[in-house]
Amino acid sequence: MLLTMQDISKAFSGVSALRSASLSIAEGEVMALVGQNGAGKSTLIKILTGVYQRDTGLIKFQDEDVVFATPSASQAKGIATIYQEINLAPQRSVAENIYLSREPRKFFGLLDRRAMREGAAAVLKTFNLDIDVDMPVAHFNAATRQMIAIARAVTQKAKLVIMDEPTSSLDEREVGILFDTIRTLKKNGVSVLFIGHRLDELYEICDRVTIMRDGQTVAQSAMQDMPKMELVRHMLGKELAAFEAIARDAGNDDSRPIRLSAEAVGSGVRVRDVSLTVREGEISGLAGLLGSGRTETARIVFGVDKLDKGKIRVDGKERSYSEPADAIADGIGLVSEDRKIDGIVPDMSIRENMTLALLPKLKKAGIVDRARQQEIVTRYIKALGVKCASPDQPIKELSGGNQQKVLLARWLCTDPRILIIDEPTRGIDIGAKAEILKLLRSLADEGLSVLMISSELEELLAAADRVTVLSDGRSVAVLKRNELSETALLSAMAHQVN
C-alpha cells in the first residue's frame, strides 16, 4: 500500500467531523472517494495534506508513519492536490506555472528560462499535450489548465495526486482528455485519489471506491464489485422513519393547474436537459446526487443564471428572467442553499433580513413604514417560532435553524405563489427539521407551490408530492407520490432503469 489512513478522528470545537475514518490506496491505483456534503471527505483530505491535524489515528505513507504539519510537508513527500479552482497563476506562462517556486537556476540565481521551457514541454508531451509553454495559463481551457496542474504535480515527483471534483467544469471531450492523463499517471505508477459525484465517470476511471457518510468510512471495495444502487445507498444511508409522512394523499394531483414548468432547460455544462413541473398547492421535490445540477436549475428558473436553451413557463406564460427581481415580481421566491454565502446579510438585524425582499412594498414615499414592518416581523417571528432576543438582534447571532426560519419568512411575507427552497433543512437540528417540513406542507395546503430541492431521501419521502430526479444535469425520472419509495429514488439517482 502506498497510503494507509486508519481510525482517523477529528473534531472542531467539540463537533466531530471524522469518526475513525480510514482510507488506503495502492501504488498506481485510482481510488474514488465519494460521499454527500458534510460526509467528511474534505476533512480527511485536509488531514492527509497537512492542512488540519488529526486528533487520533495513524497515517502511513510509503511504509512510513507520517505526520504532516503543513501542506508543504506533504508536498515534499510526494502528495499533490489539484483543487476544483485550480491553483495556478493565470497570468504567468505555462512553463513558469509548472516550475512555480522550484524554478531552475543559473549562475547568480538567475532563472534558467530555457531549462524551464524545455522541461515543461517534455512533461506535457508525456500527456500528449503540445502547447506553447510561453503562453499565459489563462489562455487555455479548463481541461488544459487541469493538465498543466497535473504536469506540475508530476515534475514534483508526486506519488499520489488528489483530484477534487476534477470534472465538474469540464465538457465531455475534456473529460476524455483528463481520463487519458489519469491513465498515463497510472502507467507511471502514480496513484490518484479521485473525488467525484458523477457515477458513470467513477466507474469508467476508478479501480476502487471508498464511501464516506457522517464522518465515517462506510464501505470500501473494488469498483466492479459495487453496484451503482449499492453505492448510492451507502452514500445516502437510510435513516428513514425520522419523520412521519406529511405528504398529501395523491389521486387527483395531475388535475391541479401547473404553476411552474421547465422544458428541456439547459445552461452551461451543469444543466443540460432538465424538465420539471410544479403544480398548484403541491410540494414538488427535486432530487439528485451532488453535482447533478439541482441548485443550478433553481438558479436558472429564478433568473440568477442565464437560460441557454429550453423554456420556462410560469402560469402557462413563457418567461425568461434576467434578474431575480423579475422572478420576484411574478411571485416567485428562492431560499438558497448556502445561508452564509447568499442568504443572510450577517450584520443586519432579524427585522431587516426578514423584510429585505418586501422593502419595495413597505414604503410610503420612499420611506420604510416602520409600523407595518414591525407588525409583519412580529407576526412571522411568532408564526414560525423564531427564537431570538429581539427583532433588532443581528441575524448572525442566531442558530442555523432560526436563521433558516427568518429566510423562509423573508419570502413568505412577500406572499409568493411559488417558493423554491434549496435544502430546506441543511445544518438544522432534527427537531427544527420536522417543524420546517410541516410548515412547508401547511403552506402548500393553502395553495403555495413549493419546489423543494433536497439531498435527503427521508425529507423527499416524507414531504414531496412528486419528485423529479436529476442526474448529471438531466432530468432522468419523475416519481409521483404513489411511486415514491426509497428503492425507486435510489435507482433513479443511480440512473438505472429497472
Binding site: V304, A325, I328, S336, I344, V345, E352, L356, P360, K363
Partner: protein, 334 residues
C-alpha cells in the same frame, strides 16, 4: 499561583474584547473629547467664537464630501474622484455667473443656474463612475481613478489653467453668508448630514445600500436592483462633491482648477474610516463620519495652533487612520 495563571487568560481576553467593542463604538467620540480637553489646557485662546468659526467652516466641506463617501463605502465601493469633481464644479460655476457660458442677462437666473448646472454636471460624472463599476464590473478604486485623473484635467482645460477671480456676494453667500448667525456652509453641512442619516436609516434605498454592502449576492437574490443602488451612491457622492466644490471657490473668491479639492478624497476616506464605518461595506455611520471629520480637523488645528507644520499634521492623520482601522478589526473579531 498556577491556578491563577491558568484561569486568568480567558478573563483577560474577554475584558479586552469588551474594550475593543467599546472603543469601536465610542472611540471616535472619546478621541474628539480628548482633543477638546487637550486644547482647552494647551492651546491659547481656544475658547473663542473665532476658533469655532474657523474649525466649523473648514470642516464643512470635508463633512459634505465624506457623507457621500460614506454611502459609497457602505456598498463596498470607494470614490477617488471626489476631489476632481469638486474642481469641475468649482470651475463651472464662475464661468456661468460671469456670463461666459450662457447668453443670459438676468443675474438672478445666472446665480441659480451656477448652483444647479455644475452639480448636475458632476452628478453625470458620478453616474459615469457608477456605470463603470456596475456594467463592466471594474473595481471601484480603478473605475473612479479614471475621473480622479481626467476630472481635474477637464477642469484645467475648461479654464485654460487660469485662475478665475470674482466677486459676487450672491453666489458667495453659500460660503460667506450667515443664516441665523451660523455660517451658511455650516448650515449646509448640517442639512446634508441629517438628510443622509435619515436616508440610511429610514428609506428603502438606504436599507438597500447597506444590504448590498453587507452581502451583495444575497441582496441580488432578494430582488434588490444592485446596479441601480450602486449607481445611485456614486451619483450622490458626485453631487455632494460638486456642492463642496462650489463652497470652496465661493470661500476663496477664486477658482483654481489645480487646487480645488486637492487631496479631498483622502480626507473624506479618512473621516469615514475614523468614524467607524467598515471600509469593506455593509455599514454606514453618518454621525461617525461627521465626528471623524471633526477629529481630523481638530488634530490639524491643534498641531497648527501649537506651531507644528501642516506636513507633520499629515503624519498624525495617517496614524489616526491606522488606529481606527486596528480598533475596527479587533472589534469585528470579537
Amino acid at each position: 499561583m498556577t491556578t491563577i495563571e491558568t484561569s486568568s487568560p480567558p478573563a483577560v481576553r474577554s475584558s479586552r474584547v469588551n474594550a475593543a467593542k467599546l472603543l469601536s463604538r465610542y472611540g471616535t467620540f472619546a478621541a474628539f473629547i480628548a482633543l477638546l480637553i487637550f486644547n482647552l489646557i494647551v492651546t491659547p485662546n481656544f475658547v473663542s467664537w473665532q476658533t469655532l468659526n474657523v474649525n466649523l467652516t473648514q470642516v464643512a466641506t470635508i463633512v459634505i464630501v465624506a457623507v457621500g463617501m460614506t454611502l459609497v463605502i457602505a456598498t463596498g465601493g470607494i470614490d477617488l474622484s471626489v476631489g476632481s469633481l469638486m474642481a469641475i464644479a468649482g470651475a463651472a460655476a464662475p464661468m456661468i455667473f460671469m456670463g461666459q457660458l450662457l447668453p443670459i442677462e438676468n443675474m438672478g437666473i445666472l446665480i441659480i443656474l451656477s448652483f444647479i448646472l455644475p452639480i448636475l454636471l458632476v452628478m453625470a460624472f458620478g453616474w459615469f463612475n457608477g456605470f463603470l463599476v456596475t456594467r463592466f464590473s471594474i473595481q471601484p478604486i480603478v473605475a473612479t481613478l479614471v475621473l480622479f485623473i481626467a476630472g481635474r484635467g477637464l477642469a484645467q482645460v475648461a479654464t485654460n489653467g487660469n485662475l478665475q477671480v470674482f466677486k459676487n456676494p450672491d453666489f458667495q453667500f453659500i460660503a460667506m453668508g450667515r443664516i441665523a448667525g451660523i455660517p451658511a456652509q455650516v448650515v449646509v453641512m448640517i442639512i446634508v448630514a441629517i438628510l443622509a442619516h435619515c436616508l440610511i436609516r429610514y428609506t428603502v434605498i438606504g436599507r438597500q445600500i447597506i444590504a448590498v454592502g453587507g452581502n451583495e449576492k444575497a441582496a441580488r437574490l432578494t430582488g434588490i436592483p444592485v446596479r441601480r443602488v450602486k449607481t445611485f451612491v456614486y451619483v450622490i457622492s458626485g453631487a455632494l462633491a460638486g456642492l463642496a466644490g462650489l463652497i470652496v471657490v465661493a470661500r476663496n473668491s477664486a477658482s483654481d482648477a489645480n487646487l480645488v479639492g486637492l487631496g479631498m478624497e483622502l480626507d473624506a476616506i479618512a473621516a469615514v474610516a475614523v468614524g467607524g464605518s467598515l471600509l469593506t461595506g455593509g455599514r454606514a455611520n453618518i454621525l461617525g463620519t461627521v465626528l471623524g471629520a471633526f477629529v481630523i480637523q481638530l488634530v490639524r488645528y491643534t498641531l497648527l495652533a501649537n506651531g507644528v507644520p501642516d506636513a507633520a499634521a499629515l503624519i498624525v492623520k495617517a496614524g489616526l487612520i491606522i488606529v481606527a482601522v486596528f480598533i475596527q478589526q479587533r472589534a469585528d473579531k470579537a
